[in-house]
Amino acid sequence: MEAIVTALPYLLDGLQVTLYIFVTALILGLIIGLIMALFRLAPLKILNWIAKIYIDAIRGTPILVQLFFIYFGLNTLDWISLDKTTAGIITVGLNAGAYFAEIIRAGIQSIDKGQTEAARSLGLTSSQNMRYVVLPQAFRRMLPTFTNQSIISLKDTSLLSIIGIADLTQQGEVATATTFEAFKIWFAVGVIYFILIYLLSLLANFLERRFELR
């Protein structure tokens, strides 16, 4: 118990960093995901291609390689200087964005064409149709897969400890080095991640009920 008490301040510091990176990366990922989904569905071929290349590049490479490329690779360029946290947020955000893009695209395409026809026949523009008719319905259908990807992204943030970001996982290492109690500390770290993800799925369940389709 003593080990945990000693470790707890470290772990809570780490939890803060993890939460900060997760939330900012998630927002970044959602914005990129929505834009890329609309690019993939746009009538302009060039936009389709941009989205396709982005999604394929992200899905086709491991996130660790993406992290190393962004943090070590891009930082060799004279005009780029990314600190660890920014590189971490960009990596997790870009990674999640690719998966979100596919989730959002599939959600949009799952909405019956008749909905769009009805909206357009009333004089709604194509973006009004998206905003008021298609996306609200698609959002509800996307929620479960959305939750899944968010959980994966949260866990992905633990990889950022490798470049020395003081997240929960990194702080677990620090606490282990201080207390030499690997079993207890890593168990505690696991419990904290578990609680975090459990709370996330509670939030998702609440949203699903809140936006239930009638």
Binding site: A118, A119, L124
Partner: protein, 242 residues
Amino acid sequence: MSIIQVTNLKKSFGTLEVLKDINSEIKEKEVVCVIGPSGSGKSTFLRCLNKLEDITSGHVIIDGHDITDPKVNINKVRQDVGMVFQGFNLFPHMTVLENVTLAPTKVRSDKKESAKSKALDLLEKVGLKEKANSYPGELSGGQKQRVAIARALAMSPKIMLFDEPTSALDPEMVGEVLEVMKQLANDGMTMIVVTHEMGFAREVGDRVIFMDGGYIVEENIPNELFGNPQHERTKLFLSKVL
């Protein structure tokens, strides 16, 4: 002056030519029923009138605007052309009232309050005022279609297009929808109705168009077309449906 003028309208899906050469004029306040076998192109013809289908060639002039001209703002023209679909296509995530007020508030920027009171008037007209706060999922097919009619009317269109509005309904609900349409026709709405309801076409239509194979084969006042069809194909079709 006709409110709709269609000249040499052609529509192809890939290599399949669905509308081959359609010419027609529809006058204000006229009720035109379009009949014909399935695959004859009648729904496609209707959907070309508000450009839900891209027009391959020819001209469609709606109230003076040639919608085949890319410079014409189609969203603007569509505000004057209401449409009712076979599958209702109500927005399931909105209440009945929200369905009806969406376009007036977002497209025409009506004030919420005035849009709401107009919507309630229209719902009363179709006999569904008490369902204003229900969701589409809680309504029967006939009620859904009447809401869809109210939704289209909320934009105060000059023309109403009906694409087989009763085909997806249980037989006992057909009457209530036709009744609303009849009332609309009596109020002087310009209507184009693709339908299999020959009784409605005969009773309410000012003119009936018979389509087959992507052409308008024959058109006439209902009594003439039903009583004295001129073409073999019309006779054959009518012998099967009447």
